[in-house]
């Protein structure tokens, strides 16, 4: 086949090999595509992303090629992800949607949930600060930090319980004090006639 109607771009992004295909994917191009994957696998590449979004038309036999490539890559412990949402490619891959990891666009491929977001954030901070921490060390530090926080919360809770108890005691003492005061006042009122008669003298300076 001399006239080749498909453009291929191969590049590395975030430890993945990205193959961007554009144009008409005809069955004549299957051998050369297989050969390209073989060479890339020989070069110890294991993570592949194939962007088929710009494929205009695709031959049905191309899907068989991708099944073979998927087996070959998985056999070597790798992974292949496909990106497309156009009608032509979607129709060709429809029976195998549960076999291939398919993503609608590149953005959805990178946004892989909370852990992935943390990983991305980690990479960003690592780039900014220049500090790189390995996974186990990060986990250990996380456990130490969590333990530290739990101990702190525990101490705070004990302290607050003790303070509450003391507050209750203070309140009850204050109430007793008030009652005693009232009782003293009542007794004073009672002995007031005796004091007026001069029988007893209870002046405060005595």
């Amino acid at each position: 086949m001399y006239f080749d109607s498909m453009d291929i771009t191969i590049e590395g992004r975030n430890e993945n090999i990205w193959l961007t295909l554009a144009g008409h994917f005809r069955k004549e191009q299957i051998p050369q595509m297989r050969e390209k994957f073989e060479v890339l696998l020989e070069d110890r590449n294991r993570q592949f992303v194939v962007d088929l979004e710009n494929i205009i038309s695709i031959d049905d036999s191309v899907v068989q090629l991708f099944l073979q490539i998927l087996n070959a890559i998985r056999g070597k412990g790798g992974e292949i992800k496909l990106i497309f949402k156009n009608a032509a490619v979607s129709k060709a891959f429809a029976p195998y949607n549960n076999i291939f990891p398919v993503y609608p666009d590149a953005a959805s491929l990178t946004s892989g949930g909370f852990l992935s977001a943390i990983r991305q954030r980690g990479k960003l901070l690592s780039k900014k600060t220049g500090i790189r921490i390995s996974g186990p060390v990060a986990l250990f530090l996380l456990i130490v930090l969590c333990g530290w926080f739990i101990s702190l919360i525990f101490i705070v809770r004990i302290q607050s319980r003790y303070i509450k108890k003391q507050q209750v005691e203070v309140q009850s003492l204050q109430e007793t004090n008030q009652q005693i005061k009232i009782e003293v006042d009542a007794l004073r009122e009672r002995i007031k006639p005796l004091e007026q008669l001069g029988i007893i003298n209870i002046s405060p300076d005595k």
Binding site: D4, E11, E15, E35, L40, R44, N45
Partner: protein, 643 residues
């Protein structure tokens, strides 16, 4: 008394690259002269064509006076675009953006939006009528030579029609300042007399006066203009000077015209309907155009217009028609112009690449129909280097961009045109790694004199390719099961060459492996040719250093180095050193590029031939591993700001 019309179009042109300061001085001088002319001859009316970027350079005080004149109806602006786009070679949407931006700039600067459009070099494209109409332009101005011969004498304007869209088309008689008629009255009367049409009682002469914006030689282009203005003033009762809009509003069209895509390349040239075939029979122009189209596709894919628009603005200058026409003084044949165009495009590419952080890890391989000739090219790129390999014809590198210096080192030019309009012709076009097999006694001088005969079939042969990418970098491997002639026998020989880029370094590694699969012993000289284009070649700033030996006058003399392992070419003009290292000692022949008449012209670049005698026993290999590294050096001069 019957008054005949004269519609004069004044066309100051800038065909060569000029430093910004020189351009400003030239345009100011032009405006001053025009102001003086109008104040001296108040009845003089004319049309003025200028690209908007030149108008931007006019002194604001002079510009305000020019605006006043225009408001009073002394003249009418005609647009070529923001720059002077090559309609037939540029992506139509880029030309549309160029025209739109030109109109916007005219409205801002001149306070008036032009209604007439003049395609530079009368480069009429029928499909452009729709685009021009969509930009609210009302008429086109071209050379009369585009019309069929019998109709060229008719004065007035036509209606050009294409696919249901029509537009008034004013065909002008082009005169140039060096050959402008001395007796204006007689000249104009001849024009009127030659017009035999009886469509109207008044005769119409549409004249386009072209002269360089920067004075050349001793001739004063304004002398003819002053003389013409005085003649019109003297015979104002016979001649009525008018603007093109007045012409359209006061006369009826002469009829319909179906004009094919055309281009007027020179004063004496006839209109050639196959001008694109002619242009593409030259070296380098096709690569320049393909690169422009490829780049434009990348620019329009940037969604943020704040980022893409400055790039588009640069592309407006790159699509300038003057850079895409052959010529010794200016155009793609001129090394300065050619490298300037490449440099602009490499600069934009570098900018796009730096913004696209994702594609930066270890390089990119693209397999695409870059040349748009039906066969794929392999494009290897990293942060520093981009190279284009044509595997289908000789497996050579036809473009090598060193991004840090914004230079295509592989832009050497062969002045001999191609027989067919092929963009790249292996063996003729100056590319890198063109492989030949010679008999053992061939020397560099034999090669220079054309006596050395290539016995192999690798130079133009088709290679099969493989591409690979790993942590170390990217590479392509090209293989051909070829042969060479020894005596009268055809000897099978396999050639494998590998080009690789290491991560983001500016190093190109190359490996050659020749395999003898026969049972006979082979003895021959293997050579590979590389054509370099360096800006310092014509200023004498290039030298070759091999150990303690320094060779000057590169590009003028033949140089030979024997058994060398490490040597370099240095260009002080652009601040660049190209270091060659090989594991085997090689003979290096440095040949000046010759003109068609066999004279030496450093503008065309230099040819470097790496060669080595090869002795191949039966079923054995011969291997050559080498590296070409580009390094930045201090420049003699800073970057120029030519436009």
């Amino acid at each position: 008394m019957k008054r005949n019309y004269i519609a004069l179009l004044i066309h100051p042109y800038k065909n060569r690259l000029l430093p910004r300061t020189v351009l400003k001085e030239s345009i100011d001088r032009f405006v001053r002269n025009m102001l003086a002319l109008v104040s001296e001859f108040p009845h003089f009316r004319f049309n003025l064509v200028l690209p908007a970027y030149i108008l931007e350079c006019v002194n604001p005080l002079l510009l305000s006076q020019l605006r006043d004149l225009q408001k009073k109806g002394y003249f009418e602006w005609i647009l070529t675009g923001y720059t002077e786009p090559f309609l037939s070679l540029s992506p139509p949407q880029l030309t549309n953006d160029n025209i739109r931006y030109g109109l916007q700039k005219y409205t801002e600067i001149a306070g008036e939006t032009p209604v007439g459009f003049m395609p530079p070099f009368s480069n009429f494209e029928p499909s452009m009528i729709e685009i021009i109409k969509n930009n609210d332009l009302q008429y086109l101005v071209v050379s009369k030579d585009l019309l069929p011969q019998p109709l060229q004498s008719s004065g007035g304007y036509w209606m050009a029609e294409h696919s249901g869209s029509s537009m008034p088309l004013i065909a002008t008689t082009v005169i140039r300042h060096l050959s402008a008629p001395v007796d204006f009255k007689n000249y104009i009367e001849k024009i009127y007399a030659s017009d035999k049409s009886e469509s109207s009682s008044e005769k119409i002469a549409t004249i386009q006066y072209q002269f360089p914006i920067k004075e050349e030689g001793e001739s004063d282009p304004f002398r003819w203009l002053r003389f013409t203005a005085s003649e019109i003033d003297k015979h104002i009762l016979n001649y009525q000077p008018i603007t093109f809009s007045e012409l359209l509003s006061s006369t009826l069209p002469l009829g319909l015209q179906y004009i094919p895509a055309s281009l007027m390349m020179g004063a004496r040239d006839q209109v050639d309907l196959h001008f694109l075939n002619y242009l593409h029979s030259f070296d380098q122009i096709g690569i320049l155009q393909r690169k422009l189209m490829d780049l434009y596709n990348k620019v329009i894919s940037i969604p943020d217009s704040k980022i893409s628009f400055p790039m588009k603005r640069k592309l407006f200058f790159i699509q300038d028609i003057n850079r895409f026409l052959p010529g010794k003084e200016c155009g793609f044949e001129n090394a300065t112009d050619r490298l300037w165009t490449f440099s602009g495009m490499i600069d934009i590419e570098k900018d796009i690449n730096e913004r696209d952080h994702n594609s930066n890890s270890g390089g990119q391989i693209r397999i695409t129909d870059f040349l748009r000739n039906g066969s794929k090219s392999i494009i290897l790129s990293n942060k520093s280097i981009k190279l284009y390999v044509d595997y289908s014809s000789g497996g050579s590198i036809f473009e090598f961009d060193y991004r840090d210096r914004r230079i295509n080192l592989c832009a050497a030019y062969n002045p001999v045109p191609h027989v067919r309009p092929d963009i790249f012709v292996s063996g003729k076009s100056r590319s890198w790694f063109q492989d030949r097999i010679f008999s053992t006694e061939v020397s560099g001088t034999d090669f220079l004199s054309g006596r050395a005969q290539d016995c192999g079939n690798f130079l133009k042969g088709q290679f099969t390719y493989k591409v690979s990418k790993n942590a170390a970098g990217i590479r392509t491997s090209l293989v051909r099961q070829g042969s060479f002639i020894r005596g009268e026998k055809l000897c099978p020989l396999s050639l494998e060459k590998v080009f690789g880029l290491e991560q983001n370094t500016s190093k190109l590694s190359f490996v050659y492996q020749l395999t003898n699969q026969s049972l006979a012993q082979y003895n021959f000289r293997f050579s590979t040719e590389l054509g370099f284009c360096l800006p310092g070649l014509h200023t004498g700033d290039v030298r070759i250093v091999n150990g303690s030996t320094v060779y000057e006058k590169i590009g003028l003399d033949y140089i030979q180095m024997t058994g060398t392992l490490r040597w370099y070419i240095e260009d002080r003009a652009c601040g660049l050193r190209i270091l060659f290292q090989t594991q085997k000692p090689l003979d290096v022949w440095c040949l000046p590029s010759l003109q068609a008449d066999q004279s030496v012209d450093p503008q065309n670049g230099i040819t470097i031939i790496l060669s080595s005698p090869v002795l191949l026993d039966q079923s054995s290999h011969w291997k050559l591993i080498g590296k070409l590294s580009c390094k930045r050096m201090r420049k003699i001069a800073g970057d120029n700001d030519v436009l």
